[in-house]
Symmetry: C2
Subunit: 702 residues, 2 copies
């Protein structure tokens, strides 16, 4: 149903309150404001017409926030010749939606045929400006095809939306909405509306305004409860197109600047063009749609980039859904940050700065668990305090802290930016202190155990000595030892060295196989025939049952061989792949891309491409069935990018050295071209049948 080709994603056919899959796919954002493609005129309820602001969190219970659903800036209802398209009797005889990846423009081209046979062409376009983060715009064009009726349009700013807080537990469904917005005033004047709202405790304040222009016709106040609006009445003449435009500003003093839809779109398009220049990957291949799918991935990554704001990060679903209460996970550090480090170093720097600036919160998190140093939250929102209170995940999936340290170091290694080193050193030392208090020393065996943890594979139970976590914790301790100058006593450093040396990871020397955790060898064999299709098995099997099976939700040690490649021999890497890959269900969106990248690195070309396509098409083809109900799976986008650039192109860069390629292009890929930054320089990579090259690009300025 979804078609992708050239620079566009499109879909045909109308369903009232359009399929949620499309509402996520067509989500638009500039990293400051994001809005799902759920429209009032299609009957979308107030809790599904979602617009979010980066960092726009407020409390829903003590200590726990939700991302606030902002007033609907694209509020619009239509009446044509007395009939409400999509609501009254009649039907859409044409209904084409399209997202232009080049400039972020969403368009719907429709023909509404009412019960009396009156046909009206309706074209609605909207975008959120990439040039000015405070701006968005909507344009409606109406053409009476076979009648001379009248059109009435209600256009305003609707604060009557609701939040539908989502359980952290993926298996629980909530049906209780929460009103997060308090209406604090509105205006409706000739040609404009304004609206002021505050969220529950006042953390989020929104001043939304719009300028409304249109073809000849009447305009009057059309405000409803919590919704200042203008009612336009326009005469339709057969085959003549009339229009209405709404230019919206969010928290912009003075409201929308002058200019109509077209010039603003052009400005936004120019900003998009700059981004594309830095991030595009051009592939010539036999695979139809591949280039577009790849660009859709890049498009969503670029849309999610916080607009130069180091006080926010990127949620697991960007600004495309309130799933996980909009929270930030390790997804950002491990899966998204590399894309930005190579294509938009300033954005990557902001992501690192978010972690650096929330170090005091991380200290509070550690203290709340009676531990030393700093513990990064499994889920965090405004500030870095823990937002996940589940025992099995929030308390146990402790690798996040090492992931944050790893990613901060990687940023510096790749970009060569040493300006944050001082703050990063404090982060390494404080997180090392956390680990030193988190390991338990067993005197009788002279071993440091990491008790009651789980790694990325969430189908395992809460176990001990999870290899992923222990090895990344060691890495974290090493970073601290490397960074430690003042403030760290020789005794403390000695303890860190002792933990690095005496911590335990299971290893089967005969098979050269690292063991995921202490309980893994005792788990029951899983019947892999019981999984059908791509739907995650946790939809039909409880996590309690799953934890006793030798089955993985997602890459755990397979991910580790990519993050710490020098820690494993080639045969150890192959042993890990050979053992764990066949028992992994990829029921997390983070898994396919990692397996694709690992397969590419290990020279398993078919597997690499198979997994790459799963990751690349995850949302476009709704492979896990959760794109509509949970939004765009951001981490999968980042993993797809890493597969393309690190896996297929074999880019190796950073550490001050010259970048190099070792291409392993999939069958049917004839060429691949992309630009990237490393060590503060700009490069262009080209892989063609004739060979490959990486060249510094001194002329082009970003």
């Amino acid at each position: 149903m979804v078609k992708y080709g050239g620079w566009s994603i499109s879909a045909s056919g109308y369903r009232a309150h359009a399929p949620q899959h499309l509402e996520s796919l067509f989500c638009q954002s500039n990293g400051y404001i994001g809005s799902r493609a759920a429209f009032l005129q299609d009957g979308a309820p107030p809790y599904e017409r979602c617009t979010f602001m980066a960092g726009g969190f407020d409390y829903i219970s003590p200590g726990i926030t939700d991302i606030v659903n902002l007033p609907d800036p694209f509020h619009l209802t239509l009446t044509v010749a007395g009939s409400m398209p999509g609501r009254s009797g009649g039907s859409y005889t044409r209904f084409d939606q399209r997202l232009d990846l080049k400039n972020g423009l969403y368009t719907r081209d429709a023909v509404w045929t009412d019960e009396r046979g009156c046909e009206t062409a309706i074209k609605i376009s909207r975008f959120i400006s990439m040039a000015n983060k405070h701006l968005a715009a909507l344009r409606v064009e109406l053409t009476a095809l076979n009648h001379d009726g009248e059109a009435a349009l209600l256009m305003g700013l609707d604060a009557g939306v609701l939040n539908l807080p989502v359980h952290d537990d993926q298996t629980l469904v909530n049906d209780q909405t929460v009103k997060m917005l308090n209406y604090a005033g509105g205006t409706s004047e000739r040609g404009s509306c304004g609206l002021t709202v505050r969220s529950r405790t006042g953390r989020v304040k929104i001043d939304m305004r719009c300028r409304i222009t249109h073809s000849d016709g009447e305009q009057e106040d059309g405000s409803g409860a919590d919704c200042p609006a203008r009612r336009l009445t326009v005469k339709l003449k057969r085959n003549q197109t009339v229009y209405a435009e709404k230019i919206i500003s969010v928290n912009l003093p003075g409201g929308p600047p002058p200019g109509g839809f077209a010039p603003l779109l052009e400005e936004s398009g120019s900003a998009w063009a700059l981004r594309w220049k830095n991030a595009d990957i051009e592939v010539e291949s036999d695979d139809p749609g591949l280039q577009t799918a790849l660009r859709y991935n890049l498009f969503q990554l670029m849309q999610s980039r916080p607009f130069g704001d180091p006080d926010v990060s990127i949620g697991a679903r960007g600004l495309t859904h309130a799933r996980y209460k909009g929270c930030y996970f390790w997804d950002t550090d491990i899966f998204l940050q590399p894309f930005f480090a190579y294509t938009d170093p300033a954005a990557a720097r902001d992501l690192v700065r978010f972690r650096l600036s929330t170090l005091p919160d991380a200290r509070e998190n550690a203290k709340a668990l009676n531990l030393d140093g700093a513990r990064y939250a499994w889920m965090c929102a405004a500030g870095g305090r823990e937002q996940c209170h589940t025992w099995d995940i929030g308390r146990s999936e402790v690798h996040i802290t090492a992931d944050v340290a790893y990613a901060a170091d990687e940023y510096a290694r790749v970009t060569g930016d040493e300006s944050l080193r001082g703050e990063m050193s404090r982060l390494f030392v404080e997180t090392a202190r956390y680990w030193a208090s988190r390991f338990s020393y067993d005197k009788s065996k002279d071993v440091y155990n990491l008790l009651f943890v789980k790694g990325p594979d969430e189908y395992c139970g809460v176990s001990s000595n999870n290899a992923y976590t222990v090895m990344l914790a060691r890495h974290n301790l090493k970073l601290a030892l490397g960074a430690a100058e003042g403030g760290v006593s020789p005794d403390e450093a000695a303890k860190w060295r002792e933990i690095i040396e005496k911590s335990h990871v299971g290893y089967d020397a005969e098979r050269e196989l690292y063991i995921q955790d202490d309980d893994f060898p005792r788990l029951e064999p899983f019947d892999f025939m019981s999984k059908d299709g791509d739907a995650p098995i946790y939809r039909k099997m409880d996590y309690d049952r799953l934890q006793r099976y030798r089955v993985l939700k997602q890459a755990d040690l397979v991910l580790l061989i990519l993050l710490l490649p020098d820690t494993f021999t080639e045969s150890q890497k192959h042993a890990i792949w050979d053992y764990y890959e066949p028992i992994t269900l990829h029921d997390s969106s983070l898994s396919h891309g990692i397996h694709a990248w690992a397969a590419a690195v290990l020279g398993k070309r078919d597997k690499a491409y198979y997994y790459f396509k799963k990751s690349l098409l995850l949302d476009l083809e709704n492979i896990m069935g959760n794109t509509g109900t949970e939004g765009i799976n951001m981490a999968a986008l980042g993993a797809s990018w890493q597969t393309a650039v690190f896996g297929f192109a074999g880019l190796s860069a950073g550490s001050g050295g010259e970048p190099s390629l070792s291409p392993r292009l999939p069958d049917g890929w004839r060429s691949m071209r992309f630009a990237f930054y490393a060590n503060g320089k700009r490069y262009r990579a080209e892989i063609t049948p004739e060979g490959c090259s990486v060249k510094e690009n001194r002329e082009e300025k970003s």
Copy 2:
């Protein structure tokens, strides 16, 4: 502040919205209706004026119920000479509260002195009938001591109460109230009020009525929102006592039967006398207050007994608080049922029947976790579906299923009642099937592991092969093997035998010491100096930190040596005590009594009495600091009783044999006398300095 002596518990001194400790201590119940001693006239808010009905649960979220706070039957406000006692200026110059353990009567004797010096004696009495479960009564007596003012009384039935759902997690506090009651009609006529309410989904329907009589004076309608009431105006004359009475009925067609406060109290007192005859323990000792404290324990146990209803059980806090949403735990089976089996076998039979009748729900619980057979819920309410959704407890503390099977068998063993054997066999077989699917077979070691569980000690993490759980699961499998007739294949029985034989429990042969679980040896030593006083350490240390320390919240293996005494040698029992007792913090109300009983059995007289007093006075002296905010700790009452009867008197009975005593009375106890049932017969036990005797008592009929 609380005094106990003779047959009464008393306290002096007034505090607005009386100290919650007393509101729990003076809670009254007949097992059908229970009401906390929180009074409107003292300023208690709507969510603390709590009245509950056994089995009165309704949903607060999908699948999860709360115990519904019923309309306040004791609704009363007072105005004397224009002053509201406790609310207006002035003070209580006398304020004595008293609970009579003999007949359940609560009385407050007060003198209110207003700002002008007018003194009025106010006596309020109330009880909930033990003779007719539908009845309760309130009486007010007023005496103007130095004036001739006027008194106004508002007496009605107040449906304006609220629920304050309590988190399962003890460390979280909720401040959000929920309105569970829908007002469905009320009447206010001369001398009576009536009220009909339904809970949210209509699961609980209450028809409450009252008859109001009083001294000469005026009466008029005084109804407020959701609160039909009568306003009485009575002239006061110096030193003459006036009165008002309210006789309340709950779900009694026709409303309250004829009769005033005094005759109804006498009827209730007769019913109490019968209960006391069966359950009293008379102790002569040097310990002042001991006899009363012991009787307070018995009183609360008797109050909690469901009024002949096998469709309900006894919540962890009886009907004294909505803590744990009123749910039923293993507390009932292991800690309360023995008291009833020996003193009120019909009540014990009802408790077993509750488990038998919810076997289909237990099957659903198992199915929801993809397991076979029947899994009893860690917390259940109306029906047996799981009400606890926490991972660390609800999913992991799986011993409950074996506890239920154990207790059902114990009931039959003690009472000789074989009439439930057929149903019990089905329970044993279904729960055995659960265990067979819950153990994980490790082929490489030929061992059945019980992975990811925790035992009664909730300070341990989710671990494996918890000894308490494995040994009781084996017992459960043996019961099934003993019960299995039809329907169990030889293969299935063989599998059960194999699990009994090949399941694993840690054992240190050198020390003759059973190990609590697989992770226990690797835990860190705990600094016992960090605990101050009796406040549970989880108030200042997170469970996540606690789980890595070698420290116990409560008895785990120590409990097991009492439940399965024949499984351990004497020196194994001593090894368990010597190792685990010093590292147990008793931060659960279930722990002291069990340690008291075990110490008595092991001949540790001082420890036995020390722990016995902790258990006995737990609520009276608010030892854990939670009596007010969580209600009466029912399990501690049962453990105190077991310590007295099994520990100190050394009663051994059941299995068809003649009961015997092996007294181990504490120092300073001169004699101990009590009645009990066993094998369907009635006995009287007597322990005096001259010796001890158990005699069948054929004359007395219960």
